[in-house]
């Protein structure tokens, strides 16, 4: 009698485990790994706070914000958006190629993605230089403070992202491999997509909506 009870309990426990485990495993293993998604969540929330502060200051200085926003280079920002989106597409293709075992294609896409990241940095860097030479530095007024702060922090992320992409390309070119456990390529790709996500919000906020 007690044996059958124990057996039934074990059966029930194993049923509970089998129904809970896949869900928990899925929660703890988002694409790219849990750690990078925690980083993404923290970064997005930090940017959310900074955007909230920007909007709060804008409400108090609306005319000044409109005036300086109109002076920003919308065309370069739009080109930079396209550059980052295509770069994001290429890294997604690199991950897909790697899953299919097409290492050369993955390497090609990785290098293409990194090259476009450098194009973004070049365009943004030249825009920064232009602004700085025109006397529109970070301390000039509150709008420029936020403009430099928000885009500069994003710029640093793109610098780190390009280094990660080049590091992964070098690893792949040397014949290195990633196991499913560490999810290296997907982790780097997730960080690169974070740069896309942030820019997709900054583009309308800083350059379009007024």
């Amino acid at each position: 009698m007690s044996d059958s009870l124990v057996r039934k309990t074990i059966e029930l426990d194993s049923k509970e485990e089998s129904s809970d485990s896949p869900s928990l495993s899925l929660l703890l293993r988002p694409p790219g790994g849990l750690l990078i998604w925690l980083v993404i969540a923290v970064e997005l929330l930090t940017y959310g706070g900074a955007i909230g502060a920007f909007l709060y200051e804008r409400a108090a200085n609306i005319e000044m914000f409109r005036e300086f926003q109109a002076g920003l280079n919308l065309r370069v920002a739009a080109i930079n958006t396209i550059v980052l989106l295509v770069s994001g597409f290429l890294i997604a293709q690199a991950v897909a190629s790697h899953h299919l075992g097409q290492r050369r294609n993955a390497l090609f896409y990785l290098l293409g993605s990194a090259a476009l990241g450098m194009v973004f940095l070049g365009l943004k860097g030249s825009e920064y230089l232009e602004r700085y030479e025109a006397g529109l530095g970070i301390g000039e007024n509150i709008f420029l403070g936020y403009y430099w702060g928000l885009t500069g922090f994003h710029f640093l992320h793109v610098v780190v992202g390009v280094v990660i992409l080049l590091g992964m390309a070098l690893h792949l070119a040397r014949g290195g491999e990633w196991t499913d456990e560490d999810a290296g390529l997907e982790t780097g790709a997730a960080f690169w997509h974070l740069c896309d996500l942030i820019w997709v919000v900054l583009f309308p906020l800083l350059f379009i909506l007024n």
Partner: protein, 88 residues
């Protein structure tokens, strides 16, 4: 064995095309004159679609746990709601 490009999921290509069209639309709306409530709505909607497209397709969030999908969705819709309350 080379598997060729036929095995690719062309979802990424369609996503890219959509994202580029939405960017062009937002640029065109901003470049053609002052922002009306209608054009602001369009730009904010484009932002939500672009954010979701990158997260769910490029980052492959569509195969993740509902918690991560909900996190991204709540985040972008909260931003959109705040932007809408200010700019529309």
């Amino acid at each position: 064995m080379r598997t060729g490009t036929k095995q690719f999921d062309f979802g990424n290509h369609l996503t890219l095309l959509t994202l580029l069209c939405l960017t062009a639309l937002a640029y065109w709306v901003a470049d053609t004159g002052t922002m009306s409530p209608r054009s602001s709505t369009l730009v904010i909607a484009a932002m939500v679609l672009k954010f979701s497209g990158i997260a769910f397709f490029f980052m492959d969030l569509k195969r993740a746990h509902w918690f991560w999908k909900a996190f991204v969705a709540v985040y972008v819709f909260t931003l959109a709601a705040i932007f809408s309350s200010i700019y529309i």
